[in-house]
């Protein structure tokens, strides 16, 4: 046993229990996946393996035994000698974890030199070795670069090199691929696997994505509210989860998985315009469905930043009551497209036409009429920053009703109550501040605020990607229900193909600013024509053990 944690208990200074009586064991070369929603205590357990607790928190009980020594019994010196050398940590955001003022080599080699394990030259040699193992370009000179000079995926790999620099016994991998695009995620997973094999390290792999964990972990531990719900081999958790919660997680992930998983992929319920689209790729493609009256026409829209076209001659339409998904990886220009549609960014050329009258919209929001602004509303990715932290829920939702429709007093209160009910929030939340709501509740408030304007089109910018899977699922259901009831159209900007398949009627796929595929969702995803789209679809992790190995073999990434 490399690492044994017994009855671990972590509390905040104010007494809230974050981790309650968790036991785990880790053998040499073994990977244990920790899975659960935010607040489940995954990261807290990961950090506790380094006998570290976040500011304001404290490890208050249990033993953390690393190769026979209880780390909690060590003094501060002993603990810092263990950190980085015997247990190392890879964080979710490599960009935030690197010092932007130092070269990568200096940072990757810092650990062994500081701990007195190697000379500077040895550490350098070791870092280059790791860079090479991680397939970083030009490994000899890669370390001379600064963090901003490499891509996100490369930086994340450099961070893995840093973690491995002292040949630790245990690696704590805290959502190392969550911030990456699906295609980059595959590479990162492959490299982590290789690293673990090469160095024979044991690892704790923390993630909220069951399908990702299943590719790398030997065993999986399901956590909720700081307690262990169930532990088992990866196969057992995926195929025969014992607890209710684990079953829900697996079912949700299956629904998001799309074509390759057989079950629980129900077709969309009929939308307001009366045409249901089968989102399952195996089903009949609804080639040209009846489309409602045109709502928004985007005509040859080009957005230029400096001398680079971020969006190149985008052309498609959104009809009344339908959901159009804009899919692409980070940097594909999908968010810029959304910004141009709502007028925050002025396009270089092209026209936007609104409604059946096909009125051209002004390039900037300041040039649009109040009525035009009202008809297009926005819901953002991060509800935390989209809600004014000093306004109550009532004020947030009520303002558009007052602003556009002049509602006041009792009429306003009634409207706020109606909107809260429409998004499934309790009326008692009206007086709360956003800080007192959960992530899912906040996103519901954002949706209610958009609804308050009685819009025709809501632009949803990655609305579910900051939420836990089960909460995200609820939000998608809510959006679909509202569409049926109110005949709303959605422009759904996302990189999450799972949610696209479930909610959209039509899809637009973007690659480096260009639209590479456009049409009914079933057609676009059912018979993908563009090679990029095929690769993208194949990169979405599937919920079965061994999927990654197959993909890697297929692409020749494994020798």
């Amino acid at each position: 046993m490399v690492l044994r944690v017994e009855a671990l208990r972590v509390e905040t200074r104010s007494g809230a229990v974050l981790v309650d009586g968790v036991d785990l064991e880790l053998a040499r070369g073994e990977v244990l996946g920790l899975i659960g929603e935010s607040g489940a205590g995954k990261s807290t357990i990961g950090l506790a393996a380094l006998t570290f607790a976040r500011p304001g928190c404290c490890i208050t009980g249990g033993r953390i035994v690393l190769k026979g020594t209880d780390l909690r019994m060590l003094d501060a010196d002993g603990r810092s000698r263990a950190r980085g050398v015997r247990v190392a940590y890879v964080a979710q955001s490599a960009a935030a974890a690197f010092n932007p003022a130092m070269t990568l080599l200096d940072q990757v080699g810092e650990g062994p030199v500081r701990h007195g394990l190697m000379s500077r030259a040895q550490a350098r040699q070791r870092a280059i070795e790791a860079f090479r193992a991680l397939d970083l370009p030009d490994a000899e000179h890669f370390g001379a670069r600064y963090p901003h000079q490499v891509s996100g995926g490369q930086l994340q790999r450099a961070m893995a090199a840093m973690a491995i620099s002292c040949s630790p016994d245990v690696l704590v991998l805290d959502e190392p691929t969550t911030a990456l695009d699906v295609t980059t995620q595959i590479e990162m997973l492959a490299h982590l696997k290789k690293l673990i094999l090469l160095y024979g390290t044991a690892a704790l792999y923390i993630s909220h994505d069951l399908a990702v964990v299943a590719q790398i972990a030997d065993r999986i531990m399901v956590l909720r509210h700081g307690k262990t719900l169930e532990v088992g081999t990866a196969t057992q958790i995926l195929t025969a989860p014992r607890t209710e919660y684990a079953r829900a997680l697996v079912a949700e992930r299956k629904a998001a998985g799309g074509s390759s998983t057989e079950s629980s992929n129900k077709p969309n319920p009929d939308s307001a315009s009366g045409a249901g689209v089968q989102s399952d790729a195996g089903s009949e493609p609804a080639s040209e469905r009846e489309r409602g009256e045109p709502l928004l026409a985007i005509e040859d829209l080009t957005v230029r930043f400096g001398d680079r076209d971020v969006v190149k001659a985008a052309r498609f339409t959104v009809s009344k009551g339908e959901t159009v998904a804009v899919v692409g990886e980070s940097g594909s220009g999908k968010t810029t497209l959304a910004l141009a549609i709502c007028g925050q960014v002025a396009p270089h050329s092209g026209t936007l036409r609104l409604g059946a009258t096909r009125t051209p919209l002004a390039a900037r929001y300041s040039g649009r009429s109040r009525e035009e602004l009202r008809r297009i509303q926005l819901v953002f990715q991060l509800p935390d920053v989209a809600l004014n932290p000093r306004h109550t829920v009532e004020a947030i939702i009520g303002r558009p009703a007052t602003f556009y429709f002049g509602l006041r007093g009792a009429a306003l209160q009634a409207r706020v109550a109606e909107l809260l009910a429409a998004v499934g929030l309790d009326a008692s939340l009206a007086g709360r501040l956003p800080g007192q709501l959960s992530g899912g509740q906040k996103q519901r408030v954002c949706i209610a605020r958009a609804l308050a304007a009685k819009p025709d089109l809501i632009i949803c910018d990655e609305v579910t990607s900051a939420l836990d899977p089960l909460v995200a699922e609820e939000i998608l259901k809510l959006l679909r229900r509202l569409q049926e009831e109110l005949g709303l159209a959605y422009l759904f900007i996302t990189h999450d193909l799972g949610s696209v398949r479930r909610i959209s009627h039509r899809a637009v796929v973007m690659l480096q600013g260009e639209i590479v595929a456009e049409g009914p969702a079933a057609e676009v995803f059912g018979q993908p024509s563009h090679p990029y789209l095929i690769k993208l679809l194949a990169s979405v992790p599937e919920l079965r053990v061994g999927w990654l190995d197959e993909i890697l073999k297929e692409r020749g990434l494994i020798k």
Partner: protein, 274 residues
């Protein structure tokens, strides 16, 4: 959840309340009239005059009370002007951006490039030293400092998505500045206002010390330090009384500001707890 203010805040409040009360009630509770001669030069403290007399034989305690009326009164009005003016301009510059921001910021830069005391001396020697000129001059000069803070704070807030939502709703400048930005900018602005008040008190005192502040026979704490400075040579405490008054007020205000800040900085929910 109501939390009892900490001891430091209570001490600060006590200092400020006692001083302000003494100043306001001066005509009724002061032992003598403002410029009444009651004894010799720099008489030591005694039964007839608790803090002794000043350089002209007037009662020190009485002079402190009346002097405070000028110093604290002018400082309060001036600080209010400086904070409102600086905040309004800073918010508008940050929210509107573009050429509005450029012109405002460059004008402020010009004012900032000249030491405040030099600017004040220039204006006061040209226009003469009256209370109105004093307030106007110091108010504008201190507003430049508030502007810097307000603009920096508002720029950060104006980039947040809830401001984008308000803009895209079609809200006007007044709503965005007053309702979206201001409530979120209060903590640093409260700190700045407290700091400005202290600086203004010192500023007025400096001008008084240089003879360009409140003109005699009216009193203010700064000129009282100057008038009685010679007494130090005779090991007398006379100049230390007005100096202590300035120090006490400054400390008291700062203690209150610290407490206000801790209230606003408190997380509004459980989110920060994890």
């Amino acid at each position: 959840m109501r939390v009892r203010p900490p001891a430091s805040a209570l001490i600060g409040a006590a200092i400020v309340i006692v001083m302000v009360a003494a100043i306001i009630l001066a005509p009724w509770i002061a032992p003598y009239a403002e410029s009444q001669f009651i004894g010799g030069v720099w008489d030591p403290p005694g039964a007839t005059s608790w803090l002794g007399t000043d350089n002209l034989g007037r009662d020190m305690l009485t002079r402190l009370m009346y002097g405070g009326r000028n110093t604290v009164g002018i400082a309060a009005v001036t600080t209010t002007i400086a904070v409102i003016l600086g905040t309004a301009l800073g918010f508008v510059a940050a929210t509107v951006g573009g050429w509005v921001d450029n012109i405002l910021s460059r004008c402020i830069d010009i004012l900032l490039s000249i030491p405040v005391l030099i600017s004040a001396l220039m204006v006061l020697s040209v226009l003469g030293s009256s209370v109105a000129v004093l307030i106007g001059t110091i108010g504008i000069l201190e507003a430049t400092r508030v502007y810097l803070v307000a603009r920096a704070v508002a720029r950060g807030i104006a980039l947040q998505e809830f401001v984008a939502v308000a803009r895209l709703r079609g809200e006007g400048l007044a709503w965005i500045v007053g309702r979206e930005i201001l409530p979120n900018a209060l903590p640093p602005l409260i700190a700045e206002a407290g700091l400005r008040f202290c600086f203004v008190v010192l500023f007025i005192a400096s001008l008084g010390f240089l003879g360009l502040g409140i003109q005699p026979p009216a009193a203010d704490w700064g000129s009282m330090v100057r008038e009685n400075a010679q007494a130090i040579n005779f090991a007398l405490l006379a100049p230390l009384y007005p100096a202590a008054a300035i120090a006490a007020l400054t400390i008291g205000v700062n203690l209150i500001v610290d407490w206000l800040l801790s209230i606003y900085a408190r997380p509004s929910g459980h989110a920060l707890e994890l």
